[in-house]
């Protein structure tokens, strides 16, 4: 374990202990914040009783669907834009300012059109996350070294061989960065949509607990969201770091 990682763990652990202390001595009221130990116990109870499992399953399906659609869709759109420079020039300013548009504002319209199932939740999450992948794909294509095109031509590679054996591996660090963004924005999109208009899901249960003044459960489920996001990031960090550290050594970068 690196010294930085040890400091990170000490910082988070210390913060949790301070919150625990503040809650236990009553400096923070129990209706405002639950002690971390209570959050954890409530969460454990949710799993032990199996109450949260249908909601968790629904949320994870939505996040997975959004991640897959936004990753593939963003990659394809990025490729298409890169193939048509004039279209790309026209679309770029829109992409640059895309995240200033509050996607959730369109959720009622989507719910009106598609009903209150998982479809509007997934679509909102896809809309929230796809642009990250488009930008990552474009960036990856821009960074592809021209000299590797020459290398492909000296080996008389076909278009497909060049894409498969040179472009794709060279683009992987950037693409993995894009997938990380997609996962993060999918979480935001799905949990946020469930808050607004859903009858099932972790986001809905957090909102429900809030309305019921069930503060320990609300924080316990929030902790679940944090754990899920941290796990997803941890999972994606391993290959991303491996590829990025190798790519960083390339001259001129």
């Amino acid at each position: 374990m690196t010294a930085v990682r040890k400091r990170q763990i000490a910082l988070v652990g210390g913060l949790l202990l301070v919150i625990e202390f503040l809650c236990r001595v009553g400096l923070v009221h129990k209706t405002t914040l639950a002690p971390p130990s209570v959050m954890l116990a409530t969460l454990a109870d949710e799993f032990a009783s199996g109450r949260i499992l249908p909601d968790l399953g629904e949320t994870l399906i939505c996040i997975l669907a959004s991640t897959i659609i936004a990753t593939i869709g963003g990659f394809v759109v990025g490729l298409v834009l890169n193939s048509f420079p004039r279209l790309r020039d026209a679309v770029r300013p829109i992409l640059a300012s895309y995240y200033s548009i509050p996607i959730f504002a369109f959720y009622p319209a989507l719910a009106a059109i598609l009903g209150l199932g998982i479809a509007p939740i997934i679509i909102t999450a896809v809309l929230n996350s796809i642009v990250g992948m488009i930008i990552a794909t474009e960036d990856a294509l821009d960074r592809f070294p021209r000299v590797l095109v020459k290398l492909a031509r000296t080996h008389r590679f076909t278009w497909w061989q060049q894409a498969l054996h040179l472009q794709l591996p060279a683009m992987l660090p950037n693409l993995l960065g894009g997938v990380k963004l997609v996962v993060a924005y999918s979480f935001i999109g799905v949990i946020g949509s469930e808050f607004l208009m859903a009858a099932i899901g972790v986001g809905y249960q957090i909102s429900y607990s809030y309305n019921e003044f069930n503060v320990p459960r609300m924080y316990g489920l929030m902790l679940l969201v944090v754990i899920l996001v941290a796990l997803a990031n941890l999972l994606l960090n391993v290959p991303e770091r491996r590829f990025a550290s190798r790519a960083m050594g390339r001259r001129g970068e």
Binding site: R146, V147, K150, T154, H155, R156, H165, A170, G249
Partner: protein
């Protein structure tokens, strides 16, 4: 490590350029940039030929056209008697100025990359790659990734990757440009060793006068853009040579003759780039 030669009668002329011209632009009535030419040149089988010239004179364009990476605007290129036009012929290998090592592969896999996509038998790949890695002094670093190597070692990896394909003509576009002077001399020694042992024809593009003089049998001095050969100097060096040749008195004479041609052209190239910058500022 001798290069297998094609069966049949081999011409003394390995590659030939005739009235070669390469322009850029001119699409939809736009401004035409005359990058190079006309060039007429014969490259002899097994020789070490260097091309030297001022910055922006079209040296790299010449290599791209010779390699078949870009088609000429007019004129012809032939390699082993067959026309080259926009496709790299079998038997031609190229090493570029930019780092073309593949960061996701270790040194051994980088060197094996070309062969693996060429349908070569795995046992033969292992034999050739082991040999090339050892030849280029990379055996200790076979499992290292490019980001763990110096610039010189990465370039050696790229040369080894070209070498395993056993090209009959190797084109090198300023492969040592990013290296310090001492490393360049050492890399030059290795290049000469490679040239001797493979028997391949080598065409080196360089902007370094001392490098061209030390390495070459013949040196073509190019004019400012559009690049043409103003003089071709035969050095007369023995085939067995290394960087110690720089101590010989004749080196001065060859350098002096080349610099006599290049000095005025380098000044022209400077003026051209100054005018270009002024035009850009004005537009």
């Amino acid at each position: 490590m001798a290069v297998p030669q094609p069966v049949g009668v081999l011409p003394e002329i390995h590659a030939e350029c005739r009235d070669l011209v390469r322009n850029f632009g001119g699409i939809a009535g736009g401004h035409v940039i005359e990058a190079m030419g006309p060039i007429t040149l014969e490259i002899r089988r097994g020789e070490f030929f260097s091309v030297i010239g001022p910055s922006g004179c079209g040296k790299s364009t010449f290599m791209d056209v010779l390699a078949g990476l870009t088609p000429p605007t007019s004129g012809t290129v032939t390699f082993e008697g067959l026309p080259v036009r926009g496709t790299v012929p079998d038997g031609v290998g190229a090493v570029f100025q930019e780092d073309a090592s593949l960061p996701w592969l270790n040194v051994w896999d980088n060197v094996a990359f070309s062969l693996r996509h060429d349908g070569t038998d795995p046992a033969e790949i292992k034999r050739r790659v082991d040999e090339a890695v050892a030849f280029m002094g990379l055996r200790q670093f076979a499992k290292a990734y490019p980001n763990q190597l110096s610039g010189g070692m990465r370039q050696r990896t790229c040369i080894a990757r070209t070498m395993v394909m056993r090209p009959r003509m190797i084109l090198l576009d300023e492969p040592f440009a990013a290296l310090d002077a001492q490393t360049r001399l050492l890399m030059g020694d290795e290049l000469l060793r490679l040239w001797r042992e493979t028997g391949a024809t080598v065409v080196l593009i360089t902007h370094a006068l001392d490098e061209a003089v030390m390495l070459s049998d013949r040196i073509g001095a190019m004019s400012a853009r559009p690049g043409r050969f103003l003089d071709i100097v035969e050095t007369g060096w023995p085939r067995e040579r290394d960087s110690s040749i720089l101590a010989r008195a004749e080196v001065g004479a060859v350098s002096s003759r080349l610099w006599g041609v290049l000095r005025e052209e380098s000044q022209k190239a400077l003026d051209q780039s100054g005018r270009l910058a002024a035009a850009r500022e004005g537009s």
